[in-house]
């Protein structure tokens, strides 16, 4: 099983590296936010004191990379449902829930890889005197944050993927899942100032806990109004519970008889005969 999982992860990374466009887009997206939105907002909040807004954004933008990277990789299962690779996977000698587990894992790892790439980019900005990212406040906590947040996003993507037939509604998922998850997470502004309803939404959004944990682990020397909103233990517990539960639901769904029969039909190609 180890070889199989390693191969599935290896394939995901190989595909990511070969699809340069996807990787470049994944780096440019957060930088656009940092430089354009960041500059605008910084000017707005500057009145309050020091210019910390861009530093404040960094944990959220790292999480954004995880969110997009993991969700897109996990959602690609929907395309794969009719692909050759899925045929290889369903006939392989392991239970079908392993396919879901391996895909969640590989999506998370691909996302972490992208986040680390962004870290490298941000650190290299220091050469130009742009000090957005220094040594995180707590290195091991940031590592844990990367892992849990990427798994949270991958699980979410997989939950959607195992429930949808096609990705014709991809724009819908983008607009009604990915963007709201990002905007209502505290990535761009502290949660404490949100109106109660939005704050309630933010608190049921598992991604918020990832952003919060990353703020805890990365931010140092920021004013109190820019610091994390929740406590570290809550962040870890909520994400761990969400990942466990979400993974179980996704596995059960994928192993359901009706789902397997539809998959077998799609894979047999008899529709075209």
């Amino acid at each position: 099983m180890k070889r199989a999982i390693a191969a599935i992860i290896g394939r995901e990374l190989k595909r990511m590296v070969r699809q340069r466009g996807r990787l470049v887009a994944a780096m440019i997206r957060p930088l656009v936010w940092l430089f354009i939105i960041g500059s605008g907002f910084q000017a707005l909040v500057e009145g309050g004191g020091q210019g910390h807004y861009k530093q404040f954004m960094v944990p959220g933008l790292l999480c954004m990379v995880l969110l997009f990277g993991a969700m897109l990789a996990a959602l690609s299962l929907v395309y794969d449902k009719e692909s050759g690779v899925m045929r290889m996977l369903v006939i392989a000698p392991f239970s079908h829930y392993w396919i879901v587990l391996a895909r969640i894992l590989s999506a998370a790892i691909a996302a972490i890889f992208q986040a680390l790439l962004l870290v490298v980019v941000l650190i290299s900005f220091r050469l130009f005197g742009l000090d957005y990212f220094g040594l995180p406040a707590n290195l091991s906590l940031s590592a844990l944050g990367l892992v849990l947040t990427s798994l949270t996003c991958a699980t979410t993507g997989m939950l959607i993927a195992v429930h949808s037939k096609t990705l014709d509604n991809f724009a819908v998922i983008m607009n009604f899942v990915i963007f709201p998850m990002f905007f209502l997470s505290g990535a761009l502004y502290p949660l404490e100032h949100l109106p109660p309803i939005l704050k309630a939404f933010a608190l049921v959004n598992p991604f918020s806990y990832g952003v919060d944990l990353m703020k805890h682990s990365i931010l140092r020397d920021v004013p109190a109004n820019f610091s994390a909103d929740l406590n570290v233990g809550t962040d870890i517990a909520v994400m761990a519970a969400y990942i466990t539960l979400g993974t179980i639901v996704a596995c059960l769904r994928f192993s359901q008889v009706s789902v397997r029969e539809k998959l077998a039909k799609a894979l047999s190609g008899s529709r075209r005969a």
Binding site: S83, V85, I91, A92, P93
Partner: protein, 319 residues
Amino acid sequence: MAGHMNAAPAPAPAVTTIQARGLRKCYGDHVAVAGLDLDIAEGEFFGLLGRNGSGKTTTLHMLSTLIRPTSGTASVAGEDILARPVAVRARIGLVFQESALDRSLSVEENLQFAGALYDLPPALVRRRTDELLKLFDLGSKRRVAVGALSGGMRRALDIARGVLHRPRVLFLDEPTIGLDVINRRAIWRFLARLRQEQGVTVVLTTHYLEEAVDCDRVVFMSHGKIIGSGKPVELIRSLATSILEITADDAASIIARLKPILGDCIQDADHVQFRVRDGTATLADWQRQLPPVHALALREPDLNDVYVWMNHGAGGTPA
């Protein structure tokens, strides 16, 4: 009549690799497979023949554990398909109608990926990759992306992928579908080589019935049921020595004239065909006996004819 057409059924297999009893699959009201009994021997080259929608693929998917039968049981390579599906999958190879390859990866990478899924050590995968690529004439394509291969090469690679882990049974679902004649012949040649070298039991489906003539044994399926089985050569021999095909405006008078001599016929508008069991009469002999017709042909029967006449005899439509 149990559907068996020839008098002598194939001898009972020595070691049974696949045994199915009352295998049945329903989708709602639709009965895809209606209670199938099968015994396939170790090393046998077995054909599951029939038109599209006759239940061949569904049977294959049940035997390879992709779908569960509504009722009935089967064991494949000594393992029960319901109780131990993972063990069954470890012992079989399956080649789908459509490619089970990753187009973005190279030939070699695809086999590496497939090998890892079966937990094969990389060195072993490398050795078998060498052997299989040579066997299937793909040696020079090792680093080519699968998306750039021709349809025939891709199918050959797919079969190589299916036997990389040395399965005891190889299931092939329409291995030649969508290929041109040259590539179809190549695929049959590869399968013969593979059986010669590895002695694997091969179970294939095809609706190009005439192609299954090299099988040790075939089963004909129609509407989810077995309507006949036997060795291809014997089935063909017992059908007729040749088939007489006539196209004429006045088919009725042709039938009236030939029926007393040749017996039953199959008529499709102005086209009539008879079975000729006495091989001595030549085309010229027949021509002399008949009024002028549009076309007259005397040809060797094949498995297609066996199937058509089987359906005819069973009172079914000659598909």
